[in-house]
Symmetry: C2
Subunit: 373 residues, 2 copies
């Protein structure tokens, strides 16, 4: 297939097309937001309930009906601004108050609290969109999958880049063999976390976060290479360091290298204390591609593809990744489809994270799945 | 210092300026080429003896006076074309015939033969410019350093990118702290070696080459990060694979990760069987830079630097890297300066290569210097 054909309908929602006649109708999924942190207020609410007008700036298949917050004042203010009818405390959410007002919950906040919120939602028969990473450990991630399976509710994890058109077009190319066989992946996600939240945030608390730069930003290239290669790594080698005192409990910098069964490798880095950047590159036997930015949802990604002497570059029209993510989640519920990234996908991430941390500690190549299994 | 100041006199030969009044005069170093392979014929001879006119297209400080070759016909043809007075067989070179006609030798050809040629040159009091990698093993590299030291001749290894203005400007920035502290390096060099030389070349012979993609192309990012960070890696973690039958003896693909004492890491890949590409990226606490191409001398490199919200990009005027390399080597001899990359620099590369191969085999993090020491 010609390379340019992948660029022809770049922002297509392939998942809408795949749904065929199930698609359509004007049903929506009613969402409760659990936690009103910065990302929920600044990105999720505007995408779900803001006054943007473009088709990709605001969700089509879902709406916000309830807010769960430990801070009544903040909740009131947000409810007023976005015209949300129901406000719940965490206890009320736990007890199932106003549960008829929503169909699904969005779980954010500290990683180590995700399981409790998701289990509560599942117990009330609510579908779950859980922020990444799914939990603080692989065991707790498995427990969340089990709870949602038993309750028969949908569980999706918020890896927005998987729903981003640029990453989806790139995966189509790789699946079609347009770059030949995958050989190497390079990906990184770096920034200065202290500039956004200071030293007292939960992301620097090992118990609440489950880890540092790897858990928060390193999981992006990790999840991306699994998505793009459509494969799980067999083993990991890794190094972490925390030169600055604020990162006493967690990794400030991480470098990890993954081996995939088909000979391909991934070389990834992430940092809480470096110049902000995020990009990925796939090198195949017959071509390569770079996506930049790859994990940051706030600017248009440019996808550059080289095959032999051909080169194509595409900078997409702006697509609101949060709207894409929530619409995809809601669409899966409405069409009875299993989302990808689902909970199992995130369990695989967490098993790889465990292997990465063990390798960093022991210096050994660690088989994924061997840690704490 | 402002970022743009590093771009102001981009192609400057800082090493000429550093020489002060030693610099100048119209002395030249007379070179003998040992081996007339493709690189010598297609790149070295045009740069040293071709009819290019620009100041950076042809060497200023050296000239070709002798050719050492096992093929008299090829040597005659080349000598005619470039007006070279002396032709020697390997035996004649060994015996010191016409040794008065040249001051230095350029050693190319199979890695495992470099030591013998360099030792012969040293024995005759000739300076040595040895193609990279210096030899097939760290032990033989050390032996070459010893032989040149004992003879009191200059030994330089042909890592052209170290003499390339783009890499030199980038190192100046890093040394000045313009990017903050180095955190991570990503570099790769890939291509299809079978398209250039087929399956019977010495590069695929483990004894002659000492290794595969790592030895031939992987040493570029390895040497580059040591040059740019001005540091030696403490340890290595690595993976090699050879899925295709032509690479039975050597690594077709390699991925390696290096840890530096100051917490920085390098994530590198190289391949004999992937889409051609070569580039490097340095991520620092306060800025980052990309150089592409980084290791291929045939096109203009573009250096892109980002610091906070500032971004600068520079695509240099064409600089003939081979002419730069030979002129720098000759200039070191004429001004009695120690070249950098010297032999010890390359011994450090080979010690890292040994650690990389051992880690690939054992899966362990291997301290550099611990292998076969």
């Amino acid at each position: 297939m010609d390379l340019d054909s992948y660029f022809a309908d770049f922002t297509a929602r392939d998942w809408e097309a795949d749904a065929g006649e199930k698609n359509g109708g004007d049903e929506t999924v009613r969402i409760a937001l659990v936690g009103l942190g910065g990302f929920a207020r600044n990105h999720v609410l505007p995408a779900l309930a803001g006054d943007a007008t473009g088709p990709t700036d605001r969700t089509r298949y879902c709406e916000v009906r309830a807010l769960v917050s430990g801070s009544p004042e903040k909740a009131e203010e947000v409810a007023d601004e976005y015209d949300v009818a129901h406000i719940l405390t965490y206890d009320e959410f736990e007890e199932g108050e106003d549960a008829d007002a929503f169909d699904a919950v969005y779980v954010a906040g500290p990683n180590a609290l995700h399981l409790d919120y998701a289990r509560t939602a599942a117990n009330h028969g609510k579908h779950v969109l859980c922020e990444k990473p799914i939990e603080a450990t692989a065991d707790r991630a498995r427990e969340m999958v089990r709870a949602c399976d038993e309750a028969g509710v949908t569980l999706m994890v918020g890896y927005r880049p998987q729903i981003d058109p640029a990453a989806r077009r790139l995966r189509e190319m790789i699946r079609d063999g347009a770059l030949g066989d995958p050989v190497a992946f390079h990906g990184w996600f770096t920034g200065h976390i202290l500039e956004n939240g200071g030293p007292d945030q939960w992301r620097l608390d090992a118990d609440l976060a489950g880890g540092g730069a790897l858990m928060d930003v390193g999981v992006y290239p990790l999840n991306a290479v699994r998505f793009l290669f459509d494969a799980d790594p067999a083993s990991a080698q890794a190094t972490t360091s925390s030169p600055d005192p604020e990162f006493e409990e967690v990794d400030e910098h991480v470098a990890f290298q993954l081996e995939f069964p088909g000979e391909a490798t991934a070389s990834c880095t992430a940092s809480y204390g470096a110049q902000a950047d995020d990009r990925l590159r796939v090198v195949g036997t017959e071509g390569q591609a770079e996506l930049a930015p790859a994990f940051n949802s706030e600017t248009n990604p440019t996808l550059t593809v080289t095959r032999g002497d051909e080169e194509f570059a595409y900078t997409g029209a702006f697509v609101n990744e949060v709207a894409e993510e929530f619409d995809y989640f809601a669409h899966c519920i409405l069409t009875d489809a299993r989302p990808d990234p689902d909970g199992r996908d995130s369990v695989a991430d967490m098993e790889t994270v465990a292997a990465i941390y063990e390798s960093a500690e022991t210096g050994q190549r660690v088989e994924v799945g061997d840690v704490g299994a």
